[in-house]
């Protein structure tokens, strides 16, 4: 166990961290690395706020009668848990933090194409967050993160309009990030860095950005219409005046299903970087993995109707959406097979990022496979809006996305902070997260098929045993998430100084000192080889 002792101070080299200590230098920073840190702090804050709501929900569900909070408060709890976790953590997390930090460095550029837009996107994100927090403080909103009409537009008497404006505003921060990435990847690549040599993290962020700029506006217009409906009673979704409530569901899910690919694609990109580095092997089937990201981005827009199989949508369009939903599952399956094949004949070490990548591989596979259940029309009639669906999307969001996010944070932590994190505590917390996660969400599959509906404040007694199991798992998961916060912050002071390339990884971001100087590279690097040429690099961390 490497003892934690204060390491020698970083040499007085100019880095993006010591380029200015005043608040102004941080709050008006145009450097993509500083904006990434601003995003790090804000989404971590939102993650723990959302987590607090989740804890209250799990505590409430320990007892069938649900006597911890009133049913009204419970409705607001699960709504805010959904809104904050999705719009303020999952969607921005990897693109806005690791993406902002690494895209210019991986491309060999000095900064993103529009630094001012990048800072504006952070301010818009915080403005949306503040607005949503105002909604929470002033009584919360109880429509669910899906805002289904006519409840959200006519029957809910909570501060729906403030929340809708908050999410509307945050959507633009996501659009600006996507726009920035697309233009940067097209115009600022280093000489020699052809599309065939781009790291897979860049490919996945490119696909994510396409979804961000083409999907988010439709969410913006659907939420704007809900706001207009509440303020001016325009009647577009109001059945009493001839409106169709299902129209809102079409507009909403047109964005919200591709949004789940905004959340998972960056995670896939991170895993595509971690596995080759710790298996010391080139990724198996680089071209296929890269193109499958684009395939997911495109087919992700064809499938939203599988959220509406029992909502009164026409049987025939249900058939179309069900078939297309099976098409979108194929690229994800291909990626999983390619990652597994990368491990074949590798030289595998079990550092924390690799443990999180293994966790991602297993849990994302289970999440994806249960997607086949809810895409099958016959089964979805039974499991729609039950805890089976809750377990399905948590397996992908928490099991897949958050695992990959933690893996990515640990993998690039030396580059971001110039310090190494304590390896053994990190491995332990990875196991805790894996155990806690499975104990929390696997029982919900069984609950779901038993027929326990979602968003229930109180439930029949026979579901209690599984709910208690799930709540127990949630407490372990909470511990698993608090640990990295503690030891990563501690590593800022006590962590061993990390050299420019502690993992001996390929990629331009590892060819500059860590923490990197403000202008990333003294001179723009030229790229001569493919992204994962590990076969001609020395193998670190070899135990005799």
């Amino acid at each position: 166990m490497t003892p934690l002792e204060p390491s020698p101070p970083v040499t007085a080299r100019e880095t993006y961290l010591n380029a200015g200590y005043s608040l102004k230098s941080w709050l008006l920073a145009l450097d993509h690395k500083r904006i990434a840190i601003l995003y790090f702090v804000s989404i971590t804050l939102f993650f723990f706020v959302g987590g607090a709501f989740a804890t209250l929900v799990r505590l409430e569900l320990m007892t069938p009668r649900g006597d911890l909070v009133s049913s009204d408060t419970y409705n607001k709890l699960f709504t805010m848990h959904g809104i904050i976790m999705i719009f303020f953590f999952l969607i921005p997390s990897i693109p806005a933090t690791l993406g902002n930090f690494l895209v210019p460095m991986m491309l060999g550029a000095r900064d993103l194409a529009f630094p001012r837009l990048n800072l504006l996107s952070w301010y818009i994100f915080v403005a949306g967050g503040v607005l949503t927090m105002v909604a929470v403080v002033s009584g919360g909103v109880d429509t669910g993160w899906t805002f289904y009409t006519p409840y959200s537009s006519a029957f809910s008497n909570t501060s729906v309009v403030v929340t809708v404006v908050g999410v509307f505003v945050t959507g633009f921060s996501s659009i600006l990030t996507g726009l920035n990435f697309i233009v940067t990847i097209h115009t600022l690549r280093a000489p020699g860095l052809t599309w065939g040599r781009l790291p897979l993290f860049i490919w996945s962020l490119y696909a994510t950005s396409i979804i961000m700029i083409l999907g988010t506006p439709v969410l913006a217009i659907s939420l704007a219409l809900v706001g207009a409906e509440r303020i001016f009673h325009v009647g577009i979704f109001d059945p009493a005046s001839g409106g169709d409530p299902l129209l809102f569901q079409h507009l909403f899910w047109y964005y919200s299903h591709p949004a789940v690919y905004i959340m998972i694609l960056p995670g896939m990109g991170v895993v595509s970087e971690i596995i080759p580095c710790f298996a010391r092997k080139n990724i198996f089937g680089y071209g296929v993995v890269a193109l499958s990201s684009l395939a997911i981005a495109f087919t992700g827009f064809l499938v939203w109707g599988h959220h509406m199989f029992v909502s009164g949508q026409s049987v025939y369009s249900g058939l179309v959406f069900s078939f297309l939903s099976y098409l979108v599952a194929i690229p994800s399956a291909v990626k999983v097979f390619n990652w597994t094949a990368t491990l074949y004949k590798g030289s595998i070490s079990f550092h924390t990022p690799m443990l999180y990548a293994f966790g991602f591989l297993g849990l994302f596979t289970m999440g994806g496979l249960t997607g086949l259940f809810v895409a099958a029309l016959g089964v979805d009639v039974h499991v729609h809006d039950t805890y089976f669906v809750v377990a399905h999307f948590h397996y992908i969001m928490v099991g897949g996305m958050v695992m990959a996010y933690l893996g990515g944070v640990h993998f690039w932590w030396p580059k971001i902070s110039g310090r190494m994190y304590p390896e053994w505590i990190a491995r332990f917390s990875a196991f805790v997260v894996f155990l806690g996660f499975n104990l929390t969400f696997f029982p919900q599959y069984v609950l779901g098929y038993l027929g326990m509906p979602r968003r229930y404040h109180s439930y029949p007694d026979e579901f209690q045993v599984l709910n208690v199991l799930s709540s127990a798992g949630a407490s372990i998961l909470a511990v698993g998430y608090v640990l990295p916060l503690i030891y990563l912050l501690a590593s800022l002071k006590y962590g061993k100084a990390a050299g420019p390339n502690p993992w001996i990884a390929t990629g331009l971001e590892w060819q500059t000192p860590s923490p990197p100087p403000t202008s990333n590279f003294p001179t723009t690097p030229t790229v001569t080889a493919g992204p994962y040429e590990y076969q001609d690099m020395e193998v670190p961390f070899v135990q005799r």
Binding site: L214, M308, S314, S317
Partner: protein
């Protein structure tokens, strides 16, 4: 980036105004007398689409050598097409399944076997 000469701009502007007159004129044709309601919609939208293509190609220099603006414009239209096509697939076929009568009488015979 050779932007367009004023002469071509003027020609394009004139064509646009002509198309405006055409589309307004087409609106006064009594389509519903010949049960051709959808024809009116089709004509109006094709004229609008031609005007849009003219503006995009000439005024917005979409015909410029750089391929990327064209790619983004095409992607916007394809994604819009997805939104319209799949949403309409629900609205057009919603009344196909007569929920009340069930399908043909044979449905009753087959209902026992799942």
């Amino acid at each position: 980036m050779a932007s367009m000469s004023p002469r071509t701009s003027t020609i394009v502007f004139a064509v646009l105004m002509l198309l405006l007159v055409a589309t307004v004129g087409a609106a006064f044709v009594p389509y519903d007398r010949w049960q051709l309601g959808w024809a009116g919609v089709a004509i109006a939208l094709t004229i609008a689409a031609t005007k849009a293509i003219l503006i995009a190609r000439f005024f917005m220099h979409l015909s410029a050598p750089a391929p990327l603006p064209r790619l983004l414009a095409l992607m916007a239209i394809v994604w819009l097409g997805i939104l319209f096509a799949l949403s309409w697939s629900d609205y057009l076929t919603r009344s196909w399944l007569p929920a009340s009568r069930g399908w043909t009488e044979s449905a009753a015979r087959r209902e026992s076997e799942p």
